[in-house]
């Protein structure tokens, strides 16, 4: 049984007269001890999924369809009171901006104590755990008596990670923890998470728009676009031989500092707004391989290989598409190559 599972999940945001779907029938699984990376651009629904996992969706959003399961429990259907016993103890959250999530007028020690108290740990033990965890994330425990603004961005992020590990949860949900950090600090955090996975036997749901970081940290990768899973599988395989045109384009839009002459791809158009619903494949408007069927019929999940899947009508033509995708010309505006 997977530690964590999204079973045909759709999440809707409600306004006064309509609802838009940020996540549309997503099914993913995370096994114990592994790291799954959710990759996508703006509007792909990855942050919504992260919040939904811990039952932190805002009041005007809900899981419209499907179930989110953690250790077998259907967390998407649990009352908040029951969810609280799971939250932080069994699954913890590392948000993107530490500055926004730490209370600016409380010391770090106070943040630890407050979090601990909210989930039933006494202050003395909280202090002890805090010092131990700070050392684990390579911070001097003297930081406990500092305030968030007195720490650098990297230090704050590490403090937040330590806070998440307070109860030794088996699952850590990290939402863009390295975005906005300097590249050397990012390297620190990535190394740290990598180590923690080993030493704390942590499973990781890692959300990012940066394929490079996901490539280093995650065993498996799921590529999201407009709230749907385009492709999913073991990271090295998916990146080395992508089966979905979006993955092909996305992977080639990430420059490699060590290969500066490799031409950079830019997918024409832009990710669709949540309100723009389509009956077909959401990527149809930008896909160089688009055919009529793509616009009218939603692709079903096709299994490729042992443990990979892709949502494309023409998944069996993937090798051919892959070759064509390496030609930068086809990603130009109007460059179709069906």
């Amino acid at each position: 049984m997977p530690l964590f599972e999204l079973d045909d999940v759709s999440i809707a945001y409600h306004s006064r007269d309509s609802a838009v779907f940020a996540v549309n029938r997503v099914s993913l699984g995370l096994e114990v001890g592994t790291a799954l990376g959710l990759v996508g651009e703006s509007g792909c629904g990855k942050s919504t999924l992260a919040l939904a996992t811990l039952g932190l969706l805002p009041r005007f959003a809900n899981v419209w369809h499907g179930t989110i399961r953690f250790e077998g429990h259907a967390v998407s259907q649990m009352a908040d009171r029951d969810l609280r016993t799971l939250r932080w103890r069994r699954m913890a959250y590392v948000p993107q901006s530490a500055l926004a999530s730490l209370v600016p007028v409380h010391s770090i020690r106070r943040q630890f104590r407050d979090t601990a108290a909210a989930h039933g740990m006494r202050a003395a033990e909280a202090d002890r755990r805090a010092a131990e965890l700070l050392r684990r994330v390579e911070l001097d425990p003297i930081v406990l008596d500092r305030f968030p603004h007195e720490l650098s961005g990297g230090m704050r992020q590490r403090a937040i990670i330590a806070l998440a590990l307070l109860f030794r949860p088996p699952l850590l949900v990290a939402d863009e923890p390295t975005t906005g950090l300097d590249v050397i600090v990012q390297r620190q955090i990535v190394n740290l998470l990598s180590n923690l996975r080993r030493t704390e036997a942590l499973s990781l749901l890692f959300i990012s728009h940066d394929i490079g970081v996901v490539a280093e940290l995650c065993d498996r990768i799921a590529v999201l676009y407009a709230g749907e899973v385009m492709e999913e599988g073991p990271t090295p395989e998916v990146l080395a031989s992508p089966s979905h045109p979006y993955t092909m384009g996305l992977a080639r839009s990430f420059p490699d500092v060590r290969a500066p002459d490799r031409p950079l791809v830019s997918i024409p158009g832009h990710p669709p707004r949540l309100s723009e619903v389509s009956n077909g494949c959401p990527f149809a408007t930008r896909c160089p391989f688009v055919r009529d069927r793509c616009r009218t019929e939603k692709p079903r999940k096709t299994v490729v290989g042992r443990d990979r899947s892709v949502a494309c009508h023409f998944a069996d033509e993937a090798p051919r598409m892959r070759t064509i995708a390496t030609r930068p010309g086809i990603w130009e505006e109007g460059g179709a190559a069906a």
Binding site: E41, V183, F254, L264, S266
Partner: protein, 330 residues
Amino acid sequence: MNDQSSIVSFRDVRKHYLPHAAMFGKAPRVRAVDGVTFSMAPGRVLGIAGESGSGKSTLANLLVGLERATSGEVEVDGQVMSARPNRGLRRTVQMVFQDPFASLNPRFTVGRSVEEPLLIHGLGTTVERHAQAIAALERAELRPGPAFMSRYPHELSGGQRQRVAIARAVVLNPKLLVADEPVSMLDVSVRAGILRLLRRLVTEQHMAMVFITHDLSIVAHICDELAVMYRGRIVERGPVRDVLRAPAHPYTQALIDAVPIPDPAAVARDLPAKVLAGSGDAPAAHGCPFAPRCIHAIPQCEASDPPDFFVAPTHVTACIRSAELRKAAP
């Protein structure tokens, strides 16, 4: 290289800030830019790379006249750039900002925003300005231009907004464009398009460009030369591919090694713990600013400012040990 034909010339420029009288008695100066000297030929693209605290944003502000240098000379197109430059200089240098949404006035239509520089300088009639705005939008690949003129920023995507900002910046045909992290807030799949656009405009309009970024991976796709900044100083400068392939300064090497590789098959080189340990306090007034974190540091590094060492005629670095380290490295 400080001849008259430079489009940009910095001579020992410093920008120091004095924070408010600190609550606890200490008020250390913040040396945002601490002795920067360089010049740039017209029509070239110079990348300035650095992390937060490197001074790159302050450098951008000095270039466009939003701030005035504490000491040293800043010259653009042969004229001194101060905090209140004359009208002519205002037409010569323009800027593209990092946040595409914040850089457009939310109450202005796209057309109004792009026409504003023309209005400020009183150029052309209403009809001419309208036409020039449309032309600028189409040069920025927003077609059809007329359709975009009456749109509002919130109706556009991030990439489109940035194109509007670029159109506004080039409508006056400036000689120098300063781009401050123009793609870092955009989705990855649209970045390359913006970079190509900037590159194309540089060529078509014979502009020079200073491209500021924290992301070393993209510099090779748009810059001719690269300067790496650390703590207010330029620690290395040279042709972009030379600097990336064979960095002459330990900090540049660290930056390159720190970047995650999108290719999972490649093996990452690990960074020494000393480098990872972080910057800590403000650097001392003398000596190499990177010395406290550098694994190759010798006592002399902290004692005196490192001199410029020329790896090649156009590739210079501020590291005493550069020569011997390059000989030793494979």
